[in-house]
Amino acid sequence: MESIVERINQNKFWHFHGGIHPPEQKKSTNEKPIRQLSLPKQLILPLQQHIGRQGDLLVKVGDKVLKGQALTQSSNPMAVPVHAPTSGTISAIKKSVIAHPSGLSELCLFIDVDGEDTWRERNICQDFSQLSHQQIIGKIANAGIAGMGGAGFPTHIKVNTKPDINFLIINAAECEPYITADDLLMREHSTAIIDGIKILDQLLNPAFILIGIEDNKPQAIKALKHATESIEKIKVCVLETKYPSGGEKQLIKLLTGKEVASGALPIHSGIVVQNVATCFAISEAVINDTPLIRRVVTLAGQALAKPQNVWALLGTPVSYLLEQAGFVHEGQKQLANPPVIMGGPMMGFSILNENVPVVKTSNCILAPSKTEMPSAFDNNTSEVECIRCGQCAEVCPSQLLPQELQWSAKAKDHQQLTKLNLFDCIDCGACAYVCPSHIPLVQYYRVAKAEIRQQQQLDLKAEKAKERFEARKLRLEREKIAREEKHKKAAAARKAAMNKKTPEAGAAKSAVAAALARVKAKKAAGAKAQEISAEPQEVSNQVQDEKSQVKAAIARAKAKKEAKNKAVEPSVTPDVDTKQLSESSVSKTNVAEKAAPHKAADDKKAKIAAAIAKAKEKAKVKKAQEAELPTSAEAEKNPVGEQVKQTNVDDKKAKIAAAVAKAKAKAKAKAAEKKQAPASITENNSEEIK
């Protein structure tokens, strides 16, 4: 620690491995002041402009908003609100292309600017030293500040740390070519930046505050030194210009000689790094109650007539900025889309649509000419085979092996890439810059990193799916066992109830026994019936008897008819019928009942069968009548027959009712005794009658 301070005091700094010296190209913009632009007509504000999550909308289409009014909010600590950069009306909330290399669309707020630039109410804080830590952090969070150096990490999380901070490092290196936004900001707003640093000092209370700045910004160095003269704690450290000294880990190494381990964060070594532009935003937010609604953007490149730094409101479309800077398509008119790069030439990305808005992390818009950057114009990379010169490894600031990484990336060997510490690569592009074979090394790494991240996500998802699948299987198994258990229990309960000596149980038992007895009886009856059928003679005799009886009855009826001469009294015939048939039907029902004593349905069937038998018998009777009455007057016969028919129909019902009543009575009487012999005889009988 002592030695570090000594060395810093002597302005002897450390070195990081590798690094390159690309042409700075800063002259065109660092000699002009930051320009104020007139208000654009429309602003496009992406809901998410930082790493983390987007907030929830607070406004809807048609709302009037004032400058500085919060448009989103969220309780999620990783969410950072966005604010209206000027007053106007929300004209739309829809998906629009955002500042991202993918050129994908995300949800954006469209604000129609009213031109009045009316502020919301602001509370200017005269003395921030009176504020508590939580108040300051709250103000920073509400102002929507995210790291303005490039990554866009929410600042209120970065500054909300435990004590024991050794070094607060302010990153003013601005090492990428062309970009001079921080340089100009330091020159013009050094006091505000120092105020921001003081606020951070109050929050973090570090042992030392080091401002790291490259020696190619003499005016900014002067301004900072002037502003920090009276403050012992703050030390402006002038560094040799070398790309990428502005990388977080590289700057730490340069200033303190400490190396941040692979995968570790600077905070683990007691170091916090903040960008100068972020310091400015913090002072604006805490002191002037001004949220992050504008930033300095360098407009550079030979395709611009007036390259300059401008104060751009967040959400300003790039096309508007280019127009203001005099974007000329000299010699490029044949090109539909002249290349425009957001960010610096080393780490930036081409934007495919000029309606892309400026966001919190956009520090530069680069519109190169073809002579300046020919590679940006032709998509066919002039990549040739690696000649194994090893220059890439020499310049790599993270001390990786770019050549090895390249081969593994091409082979998609993710394991090997991880082993080679691909994730320590900071995408600085130094390796691609020096490559004599023009291999776009960084692009390969970017693709590989995205693939590995995606693979990790998929693995995570697969792991989760597996867990859920296993859990479901266990659950199903458990439920099955529970169900079986339940069934077993229910069966056991039933058995127990049967075995109990309660009266109901006894009744149930005796009922079952009775049923069993009946079944046995029926079987015995069947056997007897077979024996009886061995005496058909007797049966046929009986049938003959019955037939003769019928004939006699008919004869009697005829005699009566003749006697009464038309005034017929046909009740005799039906009487005979009724007697006989009901007997047979009764016997049948009897049998039927015995066959299935507990089934009332069988009774019904038997009745129906009996009725059918009766009807048939009647038909026979009629036939007999017809046959025996040829001598009697034919004219007489027909009406009589009709009468008989009618009465028959009426009688049928009565007969059935009688049969049922008898059957019931018999069933009751005979329920206990089992004398089937006559019944079976009559059964056979009735069958023969049929």
């Binding site: 042409p23 993918s102 995300e106 290349p339 940006a376 693939e451 799916a465 597996k466 699948f469 296993e470």
Partner: protein
């Protein structure tokens, strides 16, 4: 003669010693289960879709360990086949003809107005990613859905559809040659 006996005795003792050692080792370092199944299971995509004909990824892993063809995992595709082939030291085979390579990751979506709350899809889901109760509208927990397609067929009113996962900033893949590397003179 005595020399021969001594030799036999010495060799016998050595053999007994090594036998005892091996016996001990087999008990001491006993491995439960078949580790190859676990390794195979780790390679499979865990969609639990059953397209391979087995009820889940683990059963298929067990089957492969017992000699089943390695080319039946449609969601895993060629990559998975390659990895399994590497692990088992067998030849890479093209994806089984009966199985079509998935077009891309998908997620089930229930058209909620049409859902009658029959719970059939809930019973079909292998990862319990459908939320709902009888006669109540069901919905998919999109983060848990593996896109296995198994809930689509049981739905009596055809209110489930498989939707491709939209490309967002989070899952976007860098496309080479889209961004030209800039070389400044």
């Amino acid at each position: 003669m005595i020399n021969i006996l001594i030799a036999i005795a010495v060799l016998g003792i050595i053999a007994a010693c090594f036998g005892a050692l091996l016996g001990y080792a087999s008990v001491r370092y006993h491995v439960d289960g078949d580790p190859i199944v676990e390794q195979l299971d780790a390679l499979l995509p865990q969609t639990q879709c059953g397209q391979c004909g087995y009820p889940g990824c683990k059963p298929y892993a067990e089957a492969v360990a017992n000699g089943e063809a390695i080319n039946k995992c449609a969601p895993g595709g060629e990559d998975t086949i390659k990895k399994i082939a590497d692990l088992l030291g067998v030849d890479v085979q093209p994806l089984d003809e009966n199985h079509e390579q998935d077009a891309g990751p998908k997620v089930a979506f229930i058209i909620e107005e049409d859902c009658i709350g029959c719970t059939k899809c809930i019973q079909a889901c292998p990862v319990d990613a459908i939320l709902g109760a009888a006669k109540q509208m069901h919905t998919i927990i999109a983060d848990e859905c593996t896109g296995c397609d198994l809930c689509v067929a049981p739905c009596p009113v055809d209110c489930i559809e498989m939707r491709p996962i939209p490309e967002t900033i989070q899952n976007w893949q860098w496309d080479l040659n889209k961004i030209a590397i800039t070389q400044v003179d």
